[in-house]
Symmetry: C2
Subunit: 492 residues, 2 copies
């Protein structure tokens, strides 16, 4: 605690890396680019998973599990998809090790155990899943198929950062099959809605819903929908994507169904996913220089109670009261931890739970017992209040709801303050050099212009927003006509 | 439905394979030895996971996540462990594909993207985890560490069977670190108790708790505890293992802690796991020639309601009543499906839910509405009864509890009927040739004798049971003294 933490102002990137480690969320492992998700970080991920899983099931999806490996011949079947991921594939070539004849305590790959066909560790599962769906789909009665998978995937990245970009990451990937194009597009849009609701209601993170430009689309998709969030440094983070895959995978794997008239047609597809990257988004939306700030809906511990005592008798009396309060809170579905570890001082604990982003801290001392009060601190504003024990459960329930709302409002206000309309390329280049944020600008819709912007400014077209009004205008770069503004920003 | 299913009597192995597919649990994939777990199978696995996860957390464990890959140098650090798994390792040697210069629509492994050090796809995670724990443990105050991981692992198997033996499988692996030997042994035993409780209370599957002989121990363990269940064909299935790892991994990875006096000592370890293999055990404990039989505690759908109707008016009235019943049942925490699909006939549905092992089937027809009754069939005994609608919720709640108990009792009775005491090797060889089952016999404790039994009869020493009485005797093979009987059987 003696060492001062890097502030966001000083170095946002270092602040992030330090915080992930300080708050015990994750750390780098002995494997290049792969992380260890520590118990506290994993507990947050479990909250994310549980809520999303519930929402997927409520919208009619079921979970299943498909193989980790994709044989190369299947992997390359959908050419665009294969091309998009080929450069970041971990490849299994052998299935056995043997003792090193030159050093009996070491192992070497057994050259005689070479696979006839290499296996790709899945970077995404369209190929293996559509190869499977082929056997499941004959008739329109077999459709739709609405399946989700929770899994690990591997994309070999040269520069990695905890949660934001790791060689292996955890995610969910939905893969659906439909009889019509309309139905598949509706599914892709529905899942974008689910992601939006999750981001805004549970992560307290406002997002812009949009479509990707052609060059930013998922490899193999006809259309990619996305949600984009603004981090505290003004950069964008793509928090979830939902793809309309057209008939691309059905054609690559020859998946057809007989419609009501018996006519054979290719099946329509979607896929959609969010990953442990959301952990990074959560951190960079709310946290502060002292540590993590978690929206109550995703906090593994919502309330921590810390006894302040001199004598054992004090501790006994405080513990009694703390247990009472815990029981009351648990009845309301609020998670509570009572930390009576006598090896650690209250000040140490205060800092510890602040770092870990526990939304509400209660301290109880002997004087509180006399007065029938507790000291209560909310993590987001750090406001301290002395509160009556009577009715504390409902007080905290309201407080948590208020924190959830106000974290969202604060993030939204920040975003509003950092979205800028620009009309000339000069203005844009000048502004994005000096300050972050999202830029709303007209674009002529061509890949050439998009590429020019990217090369010259490192900013990219994040999305063509779904919810904005049409507005006739002229591309800020070329002056050609445009029908609406797109969102441009530097991105994670 | 026209084709007759293979019966258990005819061909137990074929019955099993067919059933897994017929009941929509899993299927073989396009990847050698890897399976696809289908939604219905995965829903059962989710029930298994949820219950175990709850029990792990109740016993103080937390979840975390460690990398899929283990660098070869870490993998080989604990020599016995490495030796034990070396022959079944999938090895990643490259991290990129490129377009085949001879065929632009194909990909080849890019020879320039060879890894400096090969990565092993984890067959188990002791190595990567203990390499991580090294950074977490300095003092006795950092202990114990009680962590579990839900993950996929890969063990390259030449002969695979759905759920029972697959190259990739899903499992949980607990990895704990302790300050003392006593504490580590207590942990290994505690987790064996958790597995026993889960197997018996939730899977309704009686198990024998025991220790493995030295040659059957987990590679790298000082002691392996196990639970062994008897399948319907009399063969044994190892349903879970809990290992006391001594200081083997702490020594291999140099993990020491300072005790209260400041003295540095190596840390003591355990690991324990169960896998999707439990699905196979569940099937082969309870199912019958018609299909799956599921203990209610693990059935994704506990009650199915099927309308029997001629007219649309009938269907509307039946649906009203079915909704009423569903709501009542859901209030008691019972999962219900109402299947009003008009494209399928009731007879087809009856067979379908029988195949899928839904514990209770309710049929409601117009006459039932008049009489205030329903027709109710329990899956295990196939008993049919006409039951009053009044109080149906409590009736079903009791029925499900009764089924859970009676499935356990039935399996236990079967096991009792198929455990045989044998005192001479001749007897043993004769009996195990003609009938399956478990054999309780005296063994001299040597690997030589164990090997001889295995070679000559294909049966193995499943375990040295924990809960049986000491009994002086003579090894059935060598006549040497023995202190108690061990369990010998052919095994999955």
């Amino acid at each position: 605690m003696a060492q001062k933490n890097t502030t966001r102002e000083e170095d946002y990137s270092k602040w992030y890396n330090d915080l992930v480690v300080r708050a015990d969320l994750a750390e780098n492992s002995g494997v290049r680019g792969c992380m260890v998700i520590k118990p506290y970080g994993y507990a947050i991920w479990e909250k994310i998973q549980a809520q999303l899983d519930k929402m997927f099931k409520e919208t009619g999806h079921q979970n299943a599990y498909f193989p980790l490996f994709v044989p190369k011949s299947l992997f390359e079947a959908e050419e665009k998809n294969a091309e998009g991921f080929a450069k970041e594939c971990a490849v299994v070539t052998h299935y056995r090790l043997k003792t090193d004849p030159n050093n009996p305590s070491k192992l070497i790959v057994d050259p005689e155990a070479k696979l006839e066909e290499e296996l790709i560790v899945r970077p995404t599962s369209e190929a293996i899943i559509w190869n499977t769906y082929k056997g499941w789909i004959q008739s329109h009665r077999d459709l739709p198929i609405l399946i989700n998978q929770w899994a690990n995937v591997v994309r070999w990245e040269m520069r990695t950062r905890l949660f934001l970009r790791t060689a292996e990451f955890l995610w969910q990937e939905g893969h659906t099959a439909h009889a019509t194009k309309t139905e598949a597009i509706a599914e892709a849009e529905l899942m974008l809605d689910v992601y939006t609701e999750f981001a805004e209601q549970f992560m307290a993170m406002p997002v812009i819903r949009g479509r990707k430009s052609e060059s930013e689309r998922f490899a193999g998709a006809d259309d990619t929908y996305c949600i984009e969030a603004m981090m505290q440094d003004g950069k964008a983070l793509q928090a979830g994507t939902s793809h309309f895959l057209g008939q691309n995978f059905a054609k690559a794997f020859d998946v057809k169904f007989a419609d009501k008239e018996g006519k054979l047609e290719h099946v329509w597809a979607t896929s959609w996913g969010v990953s442990t990257r959301l952990m990074g988004a959560l951190i960079m939306t709310h946290s502060d220089d002292e540590g993590l700030v978690l929206p109550p809906a995703l906090a593994p511990i919502q309330v921590v109670i810390i006894p302040i005592h001199r004598t054992d008798e004090d501790l006994i009396a405080i513990t009694d009261k703390a247990m009472e309060v815990s029981i009351q809170l648990k009845k309301l579905g609020i998670s509570v931890k009572y930390d009576d570890d006598t090896n650690k001082r209250p000040g140490w604990k205060f800092a510890e739970y602040e770092t870990k982003g526990v939304p509400v801290r209660i301290a109880i001392g002997p004087r509180d017992l006399e007065n029938g009060t507790v000291e209560l601190v909310r993590r987001d504003t750090k406001e301290k209040a002395v509160v009556e024990l009577e009715g504390i459960d409902e007080h905290i329930e309201e407080l948590l709801a208020d924190m959830q709302d106000s974290l969202y409002e604060r993030a939204k206000q920040f975003r509003t303050d950092n979205i800028h309309k620009v009309d000339t390329y000069e203005d844009f280049k000048e502004q994005i050099k000096t300050k972050g944020g999202f830029y709303l600008a007209h674009w002529d819709g061509t890949s050439e212009t998009e590429e020019k912007i990217k090369t010259e400014t490192q900013a990219t077209i994040r999305c063509i927003p779904l919810d904005s009004e049409e507005e006739e205008g002229k591309c800020m770069v070329t002056g050609k006509p445009s029908k609406g503004r797109v969102v441009i920003a530097k991105a994670y």
